[in-house]
């Protein structure tokens, strides 16, 4: 077998590529959850993004329209969720679940005419620089613009939440909607915005799958990645930087597993696949048992409806 430094670079690059949709969707959901809203519809929004992106690319031929169209589709579908949970004050869990079921169904319905069509090539940046630096070359260069955006997003998100005024408002709304409301913040408006933003990021994550990662449309092609993204948010204890690490672990395990198989190491595949879920549960337990820690990291009004009586 070949163990050279470039080989390791290649593996890391594929792990990063598989982490992209998880990072995008998780960072979106993180903002939504930070505002106190639990949207279990990530999988549904992602699949809607996947079909919208692919369909628009096939019909219009424009990658830009397709990418933004997928984000818009995510926004539109999350508007249903926002309207129900914020205006009609419905239960977050049930509404999110309905969104996922509905999204999978409707995407398959739209996608009927798009199966079996090859996707278009998505341009990559800095392809020529790939071989210039050992190890880092394949990691840094030759990826799509969405890839670079995804890896910048956790840092942007972190900055947004910690350093900007709007970020502080989002956190205030999530931590104590009552006092935020008393200070004159429009809680519902903030939450609406955060939900729609989450929809846009999930839509983009879906488009990455159907346009860049495996350029084609297939029913149910998100394959549970939306649920993993939800787990990732918890895994990260609502810290965007940790999402980066978590997404690499979740996305990377499958790839590492295939590499181990190829060099002849046998491990039960199912055990390895189950590992991230078990790790998430353990992380949850560790952060939750300390009530001070959980208060510091979890938005305290998460999943609870807020309605101001007038």
């Amino acid at each position: 077998m070949i163990i050279d430094i470039n080989f390791i670079g290649l593996i890391i690059a594929s792990i990063m590529a598989s982490a992209v949709p998880l990072i995008l969707a998780s960072c979106g959901e993180l903002i939504t959850e930070r505002s106190g809203v639990l949207n279990l519809g990530v999988e549904g929004m992602m699949i809607i993004g996947a079909i919208s992106g692919f369909a628009l690319m096939t019909v219009t031929g424009s990658l830009i329209i397709a990418v933004f169209g997928a984000m818009l589709a995510g926004v539109l579908i999350s508007t249903i969720f926002a309207f129900l949970t914020q205006t009609l004050i419905t239960n977050h869990v049930a509404t999110g679940l309905a969104l996922t079921i509905f999204g999978i169904g409707i995407s398959a319905m739209i996608g009927k005419n798009f199966v079996g069509i090859p996707g278009k090539e998505f341009p990559v940046l800095f392809e020529g620089l790939k071989d210039t630096i050992p190890l880092l070359g394949p990691i840094l260069f030759g990826h799509s613009i969405v890839f670079y955006f995804a890896f910048a997003l956790p840092f942007i998100t972190s900055y947004f939440l910690k350093k900007t005024k709007i970020g502080l408002i989002v956190r205030a709304v999530g931590d104590s909607p009552e006092s935020a409301s008393n200070q004159g913040i429009n809680v519902k408006l903030v939450r609406y915005a955060c939900i729609l933003y989450g929809g846009a990021m999930s839509g983009l994550a879906g488009a990455y799958l159907s346009m860049i990662y495996t350029p084609q449309w297939i029913e149910n092609m998100t394959g549970g990645r939306g649920w993993i993204a939800l787990a990732l948010v918890v895994f990260s204890t609502w810290n965007p930087i940790k999402i980066l690490i978590g997404a690499m672990i979740f996305g990377g395990l499958t790839i590492i597993q295939f590499h181990m198989q190829a060099i002849g190491v046998r491990i039960p595949v199912q055990f390895l696949t189950a590992l991230p879920y078990i790790v998430t549960i353990i992380v949850l337990v560790v952060i939750s048992r300390d009530s001070r820690k959980i208060r510091l990291s979890t938005p305290s009004s998460l999943g609870k409806s807020f309605h101001k009586d007038n």
Binding site: G116, T214, Q216, I263, V269
Partner: protein
């Protein structure tokens, strides 16, 4: 004027009558039950191409796609049997038990189950294709075209069908190039583009420059195209998904068999059979050979194809040894169908163990 109207009325009645008679004579309805979507461009897609051939032959057909192998399969089968279908093709292994169960209740309906081994009632037939013959050709091409001498193979589940494919592929590749190594990765799925692409990428990163697959999606050939290595289409001609990477595809061609069987039902000549057809009968078809292959390789492959079809060459011709060096097939002999059907050991030259 009136006369003209009456005449045309009468003649159209006559025409209608003859049409109806013609229709009655052929009034056999066939149903197809699919595991995946018809647009998977793989397994189900090819079955649906076969169904369209049946339609083209003048029969009515119905299909139900995405039927899970859970308790639902049985209901779908019964509903089809109940609603006037004369022959039902169940196109996935997991339908084996429901097919036999429902067949018992509907002795007048014929059932055709793909890739299974149970024929518990006289109205159940089974059919499968000798895909391993196609893999002999792929192995020959892979062994010739590889430069790194590492060939990647994405496999689905460790069942005889897949093991047989790996063996036949490796035997053929080693025959033209004794130095090759086949690296096998088990994806434990038939159809999951993301996972298949990741498996292919892992093999390419490990130095494989030709990728073979025994899973159904087009993700693998697309990944090969991106990485600039060779690959083979599975089930259908996947050339349009990866024009540079795909050297050829092994196509599943069910049409002739389906038409044949539906006609047999119409003529009343249908009887229970276990069909296992290969290149010779046209159930396994090799797509156009890519021009990147050298001319002498192309002619060699053409000849091999003809010899496999005529039976002059058999994919499993002795001497064949297993991994431990025990003789599996003696010199001058070929493996019989019983051995092929239950093949659960790797031949010598395949690396690693079959996952348990």
């Amino acid at each position: 004027m009136h006369k003209f109207l009456i005449r045309s009325f009468v003649s159209s009645l006559v025409l209608l009558f003859t049409l109806t008679v013609a229709a009655v004579a052929k009034d056999v309805k066939a149903a197809f039950v699919y595991i995946g979507p018809t647009g998977d461009h793989g397994w189900t897609y090819q079955h649906d191409v076969g169904r369209k051939a049946v339609e083209a032959a003048g029969f009515k057909t119905t299909y139900v796609e995405g039927v899970p192998e859970s308790a639902d399969a049985e209901r779908v089968l019964r509903q089809l049997a109940n609603s006037g279908h004369d022959v039902i093709f169940t196109t996935s292994f997991g339908y084996m038990n429901p097919t036999n169960k429902v067949a018992k209740e509907f002795p007048n309906v014929k059932f055709e189950h793909a890739t299974g081994y149970k024929r518990e009632h006289p109205n159940v037939s089974t059919y499968a294709a000798r895909f391993y013959e196609g893999r002999t050709i792929l192995g020959t091409i892979a062994g010739t075209m590889t430069k790194s001498n590492i060939i990647g193979y994405v496999a689905s589940f460790p069942i005889p069908e897949v093991i047989r494919g790996i063996n036949s592929f490796t035997l053929a590749a080693q025959k033209v190039n004794p130095n090759i190594k086949t690296k096998i990765v088990w994806a434990f799925t038939w159809y999951d583009p993301g996972k298949e692409a990741e498996a292919a990428k892992a093999l390419i990163d490990q130095g494989a420059d030709v990728i073979a697959q025994h899973t159904d999606s087009t993700a693998i050939v697309q990944m090969a195209e991106k990485a600039g290595v060779y690959a083979f289409g599975q089930a259908s001609d996947m050339d349009k998904f990866a024009p540079k990477a795909v050297l050829t595809s092994v196509e599943n061609n069910w049409g002739p068999y389906y038409v044949d069987r539906v006609k047999a039902v119409a003529n009343g000549t249908w009887s229970q059979k276990d069909t296992w057809h290969g290149i010779g009968d046209g159930m396994v078809v090799i797509s156009d050979l890519d021009s990147q292959m050298p001319a002498d390789l192309r002619s060699k492959v053409k000849k091999l194809q003809a010899d496999l079809a005529s039976g002059k060459v058999h994919s499993f011709t002795g001497p064949i040894y297993d991994q431990k060096g025990n003789l599996m097939v003696a010199e001058g002999k070929t493996a019989d169908d019983g051995m092929l059907a239950g093949m659960m050991t790797y031949v010598k030259g395949v690396e690693g163990d079959i996952p348990k």
